[in-house]
């Protein structure tokens, strides 16, 4: 395993619901290296969404250590987290989460806007990212003029445009038909082969089988962490 991007030790996330304390994650330790292709699996309520939020720096742990490229995420404030999300993490969501009134190009440019990249450079890099997902002919379309698969490819272009350390995909094929889902999974494989680190969060076994390493969660704990040699 190469240099660790993510280093988690004894991570705990506790929510307080009224008087009751709910543990979404209990004592999770995990190391993810560069250019891994990882799937996080588990039934609903297993804590995989919470783990994804932690990995994506959308949320901070109650206790435990989380180092992202050596920096301690647990101690970061909102703006530091925003900056990490902007530069180091590319999100791909189940529901695409594109801005409905913006064109493909504008959607892909958005992370670069918050990174303070000049307009010219933004357009150049966004066009490049859209080319990588084979959407060069759809740059001025708005999400409602695109198919589900095309929308997810715009979302992937948006995720890779900042050249992040990890691409974090939450049920990326959940809203797509089987054929389109397959195309999207091939795209992730291509990104991994090109050197990206890809983390899938899914409850679908055949989607997880695309990854080279599968982590199974149950009741907030890691149940198994295996290398997947018979990947799809």
């Amino acid at each position: 395993m190469s240099k660790a991007i993510i280093d988690i030790e004894n991570l705990v996330k506790r929510y307080e619901m009224g008087d009751e304390e709910v543990y979404a994650l209990r004592d999770v330790s995990l190391t993810i290296g560069s250019n891994e292709y990882l799937a996080i699996m588990g039934p609903s309520g297993s804590g995989k969404s919470t783990l994804m939020n932690m990995l994506g720096c959308l949320d901070t742990p109650t206790s435990g250590k989380y180092l992202f490229n050596g920096a301690n995420v647990a101690e970061m404030d909102d703006d530091d987290l925003a900056s990490i999300r902007n530069k180091e993490i590319g999100f791909v969501f189940q529901t695409f989460n594109l801005l409905p009134r913006a064109t493909s190009l504008k959607n892909v440019e958005l992370p670069l806007v918050y990174a303070g990249v000049s307009a010219e450079e933004r357009t150049r890099r966004a066009m490049e990212a859209l080319a990588r997902v084979q959407l060069s002919d759809r740059v001025s379309h708005k999400p409602n003029e695109l198919s589900g698969g095309q929308r997810q490819r715009v979302a992937i272009a948006r995720a890779i445009v900042t050249a992040p350390s990890i691409i974090l995909a939450d049920e990326p094929t959940g809203n797509l038909d089987t054929k389109t889902g397959h195309d999207i999974m091939n795209l992730f494989s291509d990104l991994w082969k090109a050197g990206n680190t890809v983390i899938l969060v899914t409850h679908e076994e055949d989607i997880a089988q695309h990854a080279r390493r599968i982590i199974r969660l149950r009741d907030g704990r890691i149940e198994s962490d295996t290398v997947n040699n018979n990947h799809a």
Partner: protein, 420 residues
């Protein structure tokens, strides 16, 4: 620090949001529109009053001093003033012969509660007897005809120059010159009509007629009468010099002991400045009250719609935060939207205010034929526009602050989960 690209994006989103919800945006700004219209109208009204007041003072004469038993400001002890000895015509004439710094020294005899009769119509007005020198004051400018001549003055001719108010009351159809008016039973020929001089509380100035001093004695007599003396100084700069000289002569003529107060007053148009100022303050207070009320109501509307906007866009905020928008970016986005909303209100308000201003002026000048109003600007002054825009932007920022703070503090996980 916010980056330029973020600010541009924020502004773009804000404009986009207003455009998409155009009707809602316009309706929301109603309170701001009313507020801005009020601010602009108030400023214009006060500006107009100043212009009219300046005009009145200019016509009546900024360079005039009036020596009188009575004090125009009315601020002093009335009994003390009432106890002053009358100023006689002889004293007035002595002053005239001694004064060196004044351009003209003009004795005036006034009957305040007099009347003029045209046929069967009687009109209350003040009758003023004076010398032909009065023709040299700016107040003697005639609309029609002329002031009386030294010859007419010396021969006590029965000629009269009527004020604008008398003219309007008795000759609404025009052509007053040449007609006969009776003053205390004696017929006088109208030889001139004076231009309009006063407005508002200075209206009484136009309700007077001028006749030669000796003709005045013939109809109303000099008995028990206190004379005034008008001093034309030539320029405002001369006022102090003329005043000092006049006080010295008057004290000597009236034998005022060195340690006693003057037993006469030196009046000037400035005495009425305070009254004009009070009117302006009154308009300002009422106008500001209404304006503040409108802005409060308006900003509540803006705040409300901004909360709606934040709620509607919770998901979008979540997406933006997920891909790296910091709190300040989101804050800026909604503050700019709110400020633009209010600025749009100001922009809607300008043509409305301009329409009201133009309409009011048209009504006054062209329909009601109030020529004095023509000095009032038909246009909203530009600095008022600037102030109104600045105020509306500040109101927008204040009204948008709480909703924008709420948006900026949304938890990205919660926000992403939000579905409408």
């Amino acid at each position: 620090m916010l980056r330029l690209s973020e600010l541009q994006e924020s502004a773009r989103i804000a404009v986009d949001s207003l455009r998409v919800n155009l009707l809602r945006s316009i309706l929301t700004t109603a309170g701001i529109v009313v507020g801005v219209v009020l601010v602009v109208l108030m400023g214009w009204t006060i500006g107009g009053l100043n212009a009219v007041w300046e005009q009145t003072i200019a016509i009546i004469g900024k360079d005039m001093l009036y020596i009188d038993k009575w004090d125009w400001t009315g601020g002093r002890n009335w009994r003390q003033i009432d106890a002053r000895k009358d100023i006689s015509l002889d004293q007035a004439m002595q002053l005239k012969s001694r004064m060196e710094s004044a351009e003209y020294v003009i004795p005036l005899a006034r009957k305040w509660g007099g009347s003029v009769v045209k046929g069967n119509t009687s009109l209350m007005c003040s009758i003023t007897g004076t010398t032909a020198d009065y023709a040299n004051t700016s107040a003697a400018t005639t609309l029609d005809g002329r002031f009386f001549s030294p010859t007419e003055e010396q021969s006590a001719s029965r000629v009269v120059v009527i004020g604008h108010g008398v003219y309007k009351s008795l000759y609404p159809e025009g052509n007053a010159v040449g007609n006969i008016l009776k003053i205390n039973g004696s017929p006088f020929r109208i030889i001139g009509v004076l231009q309009k001089q006063g407005f508002l509380f200075m209206d009484f100035i136009d309700n007077q007629v001028f006749i030669p001093m000796m003709a005045f004695r013939a109809v109303h007599g000099f008995f028990d009468r206190s004379f005034s003396v008008g001093l034309k100084c030539g320029s405002e700069a001369m006022l102090d010099i003329v005043r000092t000289e006049a006080i010295g002569h008057m004290r000597a003529i009236r034998n005022v002991p060195p340690d006693a107060d003057d037993d006469f007053s030196i009046n000037e148009m400035k005495a009425f400045d305070q009254q004009a100022k009070n009117i302006r303050i009154g308009i300002w207070v009422v106008g500001m009250g209404l304006t503040i009320l409108a802005f409060i109501v308006g900003s509540i509307g803006i705040m409300n719609i901004m909360y709606v906007s934040v709620t509607e866009r919770t998901k979008e905020i979540g997406i933006r935060k997920a891909i790296g928008a910091r709190r300040s970016s989101i804050l800026a986005q909604f503050l700019i939207e709110s400020a633009l909303l209010c600025m749009a209100g100001a922009l809607i308000a300008f043509p409305i205010a301009q329409g009201i201003v133009a309409g009011a002026r048209f009504l006054a000048v062209d329909v009601l034929e109030q020529e004095w109003a023509s000095v009032i600007s038909p246009l909203i002054p530009l600095d008022l526009l600037g102030i109104a825009v600045a105020v509306s932007v500040v109101v927008g920022l204040l009204a948008g602050l709480l909703p924008a703070l709420r948006a900026s503090r949304l938890d990205p996980v919660e926000a992403l989960r939000y579905e409408q």
